[in-house]
């Protein structure tokens, strides 16, 4: 089976600073990868390149069989990204945020389906509360709910465990397990090593914008 991600010599520069300095990486379909590394080693930049948010400065990046940045639409249709702060609107309620996301994602889901998703992340009692009144952990749960609106082939999670209590962490880990069972590839970039590596099939460590080590978990 062809890898879902194939990267050769990927570099990315921001002005004079190199965030990625020649990353070579292959990720097989349906596995969970923990992407570890200190601050500034390029984890977030790598996820942003995979999600099409950033263009590579040089190198070859192939995601889901499409070469980036040439064929971005195909990748966007089958990839979801969780950013550290999420993508939710403060003045909308939790339910309205999901409504917006479902209308943006494809044929919209019904209100009852959205409510079920909120129940799944234990936000049913805050469904009609504006997000600005949510705690950071609740926002993270809402972000997890937003990611469940689509059936992706590739899931990119940037610091998914930050600000979550034990129950929240378990929700994320359960969801990762569900994705894996469904054959979806998941890449987790995190500082919380124990959580990130718990269900991982492979551990990739980045150092100074390069892959320093790879091991099978």
């Amino acid at each position: 089976m062809s890898p879902i991600i194939r990267v050769q010599g990927l570099t990315r520069r921001f002005g004079r600073r190199w965030a990625l300095r020649g990353v070579d990486l292959e990720v097989e379909r349906g596995i969970v990868v923990a992407l570890l590394g200190a601050n500034g080693t390029g984890k977030t930049t790598l996820l942003k390149v995979f999600s099409t948010l950033l263009r590579p400065t040089a190198g070859r990046v192939e995601v889901l069989g499409s070469v980036l940045p040439r064929d971005q639409d195909h990748v966007r249709a089958k990839t979801v990204l969780m950013t550290p702060n999420g993508h939710t609107y403060e003045e909308l309620t939790g339910l309205e945020n999901l409504k917006f996301a479902t209308h943006m994602s494809g044929p919209p889901l019904s209100d009852s389906s959205l409510h079920e998703i909120l129940v799944g992340v234990r936000l049913e009692n805050a469904a009609n509360t504006r997000v600005r009144a949510y705690s950071t952990g609740m926002r993270k749960r809402l972000e997890l709910a937003r990611m469940q609106l689509r059936t992706p082939e590739l899931v990119l999670l940037d610091e998914p465990f930050v600000s979550l209590d034990e129950e929240g962490v378990q929700l994320v880990q359960d969801r990762i397990s569900d994705w894996r069972s469904a054959g979806t590839s998941v890449i987790i970039a995190s500082h919380r090593i124990a959580y990130a590596t718990a269900g991982a099939d492979r551990i990739v460590r980045l150092e100074r914008g390069r892959v320093a080590s790879e091991e099978t978990a």
Binding site: S51, L81, T83, T88, Y89, L92, E96, A101, H103, P108
Partner: protein
């Protein structure tokens, strides 16, 4: 409904809901616009004939100033939600972002004008009611022109540090034909159009709106690329 229409509607709905729930921003813009009109009237002085003659120009300057403030607000909620770039990750045509934001800006500016036009009539002693139909046409074309360019440039400057300064610097020169056309047509209609100049201004406005809309929609995807 195709995905472009669905996404455009979703962004428009989200922006309008956000604006209605942060009413202090809208009230501040409205107060600012009225204040600008009052300042102009103080600057011109008590000469009623002069105030009436300048009314069209001063009204459109107030609309441009207030509209520029409104454009800045359009992306504020996006920045709080992690940045407009994240909207790009939804599958579909990214032009939906432009069209949704444009529709939102148009509606907000139109609501502001519902207050600004009567305020102008009172402050500058002009009879707008007898020219209402013609002035609504001018307002529609001028507001569309402003929103088409304004939405485009506000997206272009969204990530810049000095965006508050750069937005007007880029926007105002591009707005010259819109302001000229709107002021020219408004003045012509208010004076009864004795020289038959209004039609020319209206044609200029309509042509500029159409050309700019096509160009902005066409090149918008490039603007969003990082």
């Amino acid at each position: 409904m195709n995905s472009l229409m669905r996404q455009t509607k979703a962004i428009f709905w989200k922006d309008i809901i956000t604006e209605t729930r942060t009413r202090q921003g809208f009230s501040a813009m409205l107060s600012f616009a009225t204040l600008v009109l009052f300042l102009f009237s103080f600057a011109v002085g008590p000469d009623t004939a002069l105030l009436t003659r300048l009314a069209g120009g001063l009204l459109w300057v107030a609309i441009v100033f207030t509209g520029t403030l409104s454009l800045g607000r359009a992306y504020q909620s996006e920045e709080l939600a992690g940045g407009v770039q994240l909207l790009r990750l939804y599958p579909g045509d990214v032009r939906a972002i432009y069209l949704g934001k444009l529709a939102g800006n148009l509606v907000i500016l139109a609501i502001l004008e519902l207050v600004l036009f009567p305020a102008t009539a009172i402050i500058f002693h002009v009879d707008l009611l007898s020219h209402a139909t013609s002035l609504i046409m001018v307002a529609a074309l001028g507001t569309t022109g402003f929103s088409v360019i304004g939405t485009f440039f506000s997206t272009l400057t969204v990530h810049l540090r000095a965006r508050e300064l750069l937005l007007p610097l880029l926007l105002f020169p591009a707005l010259v034909p819109v302001v000229l056309g709107s002021v020219g047509a408004t003045d012509a209609f208010l004076s009864g159009d004795p020289l038959g100049r209004a039609a020319g201004w209206i044609q200029l406005l309509a042509a500029y709106d159409v050309i700019l809309f096509v160009v902005c929609v066409w090149i918008f995807p490039v603007v969003l690329e990082e």
